[in-house]
């Protein structure tokens, strides 16, 4: 196991190196001059040149890349061009918000999908199955931002149950939860729909297996059979889906955080892209890439727990 982890972690090094290269080149081939965005349209060519020199943008790209990478390896991702805040500090400040949002969205989607998936598999072709299929179809097709606006309209404006925007940090638990319900629903619905479908087909597959029939023949109750024997095996497909969707979920946090005015990593990044705050963009993307690689590692480890036949090593 430890050997497996070490090997996997080692394998991520060239991957991250490649990611850093791609990120760096993308940011620098983006049309739009950061100097103009920072100094305004009326800046003279001389002022623009000074600005580029000060930040080292006038040197060859290779030099810039090597220097940036060298510092990044020592944990220094540079400073924001606008506020002079260290990039790592900016990311770490925002991270709790995004992690909480991701966690809540995942919780919401599992809370919806696991019962829905099980019931629609066990009671195949019933009314419940049809309802869950319809939910899955709608949930998956709705654009994120639109769903968010509808939720805000209904729960914040009409019913006044929840705040329309903003983030209440911990330890104010009740306020914190209230501020995350709508964003978590917005972010988690599509995933819930996807997991429901995966779990349903996984369960149908498993329920046809011999060991399930054996378990039923032993006289085990339906609940035990479904929960202990069938669900655990059907979850492998679900874990795979979640692992694959983490990237998409991270991408959607940009929309969700902007819509609900949450101060997370996604919003940090989109603002930085629009203002060409290069060091922030590079830092965030690198950071997200590391997060994505690690989350997939966790998924792999989970496999061996769910199905001991899968041996890592």
């Amino acid at each position: 196991m430890i050997q497996f982890l070490a090997r996997r972690l080692l394998a991520t090094v060239p991957l991250l190196f490649f990611v850093s290269l791609v990120v760096f080149s993308f940011v620098h081939v983006l049309p739009g001059d950061p100097a103009v965005l920072f100094l305004g349209e009326e800046a003279t060519p001389e002022t623009l040149a000074k600005f580029r020199t000060r930040l080292g943008f006038d040197r060859p790209l290779v030099t810039q890349y090597v220097e940036w990478l060298g510092r990044a390896l020592r944990g220094d991702l540079g400073r924001s061009l606008r506020t002079n805040q260290p990039v790592t500090e900016a990311i770490l400040q925002r991270l709790p918000v995004t992690l909480e949002l991701l966690g809540a969205a995942l919780a919401v989607s599992l809370a919806i999908a696991i019962p829905a998936g099980i019931v629609s598999a066990v009671k195949r072709n019933s009314g419940v199955d049809l309802a869950s299929t319809v939910f899955a179809l709608i949930g998956f097709s709705l654009p994120n931002f639109w769903l968010g606006l509808i939720l805000i309209y209904v729960f914040a404006l009409l019913l006044r149950w929840l705040p329309p925007s903003g983030f209440a940090p911990l330890p104010a638990l009740a306020d914190n939860a209230r501020s995350l319900i709508l964003p978590a629903l917005t972010l988690g619905t599509a995933l819930a729909a996807l997991i429901t479908r995966q779990l349903r087909s996984g369960m149908l597959e498993v329920l046809r297996q011999d060991y399930v029939r054996t378990a039923q023949a032993k006289g085990l109750g339906q609940g035990v059979v479904v929960a202990k024997h069938a669900l655990k095996n059907a979850l492998i497909a679900v874990v795979t889906v979640i692992g694959l969707q983490i990237g998409g979920l991270l991408g959607n946090t940009i929309i969700t955080e902007s819509l609900f005015a949450l101060p997370g990593v996604g919003r940090l990044m989109i603002d930085a892209v629009f203002s060409r705050d290069f060091f922030i963009v590079q830092g965030v993307v690198l950071f997200l890439a590391v997060g994505y690689v690690l989350s997939n590692l966790i998924v792999d480890v989970l496999y061996s727990y769910l199905d001991p036949r899968i041996r890592l090593g």
Partner: protein, 505 residues
């Protein structure tokens, strides 16, 4: 039951009828401000984002300010004198003004601020704004003399914005580049905390130089980028005043209970840049054909939901320089036909306009597209992200490009940079010696009536040459809760909170 209702109603009437003065100017409380974007930096000498100025106006005092009628009023400069044919400005400074860090404001500080803005190493965006200032001299501890390289009538109005904001020298020397997150000024509120993209908090500065002000304890800015969500936050009482309401929501806001809406003319203009060095816009008649093809009233009605005013020149209705007698901007298909023939393209032509990928601006372009279609001109719309649009604008990489200008209090700032052949924003490469002469004359003329006459000629010549197709002047709209009192709405759109109070906390 009925009796109770009557009694309560009577009580309400009685309470409502109490004289307003009885509740006037309550001290204390926190105002929550809904913004469209977060502040980018707290250093006014480094800022380029319009949104930054909102917070600055409460943290920094300026040498001078503007009032609701664009009059220049004293702030840190108590009086001023213009001498030497508009070449020398002598400012008498207010005494006893302290920065939030306790240091004293005086003439040395003013000189140091100007030196900082003019330092090429800082690469300050203010540098070009105060370019006409050749020299700043300290005459005595509270008198400053500025010498200009040529007469520049807009100087005072430039000093009502970021260039006139005085920052603490001690704080800049202490924090260096981190001053961007640790601002120190002489304004009514001092900076407390900034959690980026979440909130920025200011607290009352007890040592503020205007006696008895401010009334509020605290100002909290909350950036809520989506306009519908921002408006919902306003309707549900999450915020007390909001910046940038979408035109479609103005009608709803007006019917909402407990909400005040104020709509005044802004300093903005919106329009299409026609590249005067790219065919077919090298031909004046072709530019004029586009000028007469658009119906600006339709744009105002449809894209802006009736708010603001049709735009046909660089000066919005809020400015004294606007020539209200000018009418040659109405849609006229017959003239379009004649102009197309005159330009050698009687059957029309095709071109591409670049624009920002933003709903109102897209709609505006679609209206123009439909109107041009009717006269045989095929306009293709290419939508870009804002940074890319700016890059294309600055590198003259367009035939036509749609963009707006947030405007400046002095008309010079809305016209000279765009219409003068050497103007810093003349990306269309328009050049007419007569126009240059008019603009230079208007800039160095001190008398407003004479300047107005010159700007009327500028408007007419700009319409005749049509290097830009002006389309619209946005309305400046603010929405606030009825509990917010004493808010003065000024065309520059800045929310100055020193005189504001809340009648309910």
């Amino acid at each position: 039951m009925r009796g109770w209702v009557r009694l309560v109603a009577l009580a309400i009437v009685v309470v409502a009828a109490l004289p307003a003065a009885a509740v006037a100017q309550v001290r204390g409380g926190t105002i929550r401000v809904g913004m469209d974007a977060d502040t980018t930096t707290m250093d006014p000498h480094r800022s380029t984002a319009a949104v930054d100025r909102q917070v600055y106006n409460n943290v920094y005092s300026k040498l001078v300010d503007i009032d609701a009628r664009f009059g220049i009023v004293p702030q840190l400069a108590q009086t001023w004198e213009i001498k030497g044919g508009g070449l020398v400005y002598v400012f008498k400074l207010r005494r006893g003004v302290k920065f939030h860090d306790g240091t004293e404001f005086n003439a040395d500080i003013v000189k140091w601020n100007f030196d900082r803005m003019r330092d090429p190493e800082l690469a300050s965006p203010r540098r070009s704004e105060i370019a006409p200032v050749k020299d700043v001299k300290v005459l005595d501890p509270f008198t400053v003399e500025m010498t200009l390289s040529s007469p520049f009538a807009p100087l005072l109005s430039v000093l009502t914005d970021r260039a006139g904001m005085m920052v603490s020298r001690a704080a800049v020397e202490k924090y260096k580049d981190d001053f961007a997150r640790n601002p120190v000024g002489t304004g009514p509120f001092r900076f407390v905390e900034w959690v980026k993209d979440d909130h920025l908090t200011l607290k009352r500065f007890d040592g503020y130089w205007e006696a008895g002000l401010p009334h509020l304890d605290e100002v909290v800015y909350r950036p809520i980028p989506d306009s519908s969500v921002r408006f919902t936050a306003m309707r549900t009482g999450q915020i007390d005043i909001m910046h940038q309401i979408h035109p479609k929501d103005v009608a709803t806001a007006k019917t909402e209970r407990g909400m005040k809406v104020s709509e005044i003319a802004s300093l903005w203009w919106q329009g299409i840049h026609l590249n005067n060095q790219v065919a077919p816009f090298t031909t004046k008649a072709i530019r004029q054909a586009v000028w007469y093809a658009v119906d600006r009233s339709v744009i105002q009605r449809v894209a802006y939901f009736g708010s603001g005013a049709p735009g046909w020149g660089p000066f919005p209705p809020s400015m004294w320089a606007q020539d209200r007698d000018f009418t040659d901007w109405k849609r006229d298909p017959a003239k379009v036909k004649a102009k197309l023939a005159e330009g050698g393209m009687p059957n029309g032509f095709a071109f591409t306009v670049k624009g920002w990928n933003q709903p109102t601006q897209i709609q505006e372009l679609q209206i123009v597209q439909a109107e041009l279609k009717e006269v045989g001109v095929d306009m293709k719309i290419e939508l870009l992200e804002f940074g890319k649009l700016l890059a294309d604008l600055n590198s003259h990489n367009f035939a036509a490009l749609r963009i707006g200008w947030s405007g400046r209090p002095d008309p010079d700032g809305n016209a000279h940079v765009f219409l003068h052949s050497k103007g810093g924003l003349n990306r269309v490469r328009y050049s007419n010696p007569k126009m240059d002469e008019l603009l230079d004359q208007a800039r160095s003329e001190g008398d407003q009536a004479k300047r107005k006459a010159l700007y009327a000629q500028v408007t007419r010549l700009a319409a005749e040459d049509a290097p830009y197709i002006w389309l619209h002047h946005d309305a400046e709209v603010k929405v606030w809760s009825e509990h917010v009192k004493g808010f003065e709405h000024i065309s520059d759109g800045m929310m100055r909170f020193k005189g504001v109070w809340l009648d309910k906390r």
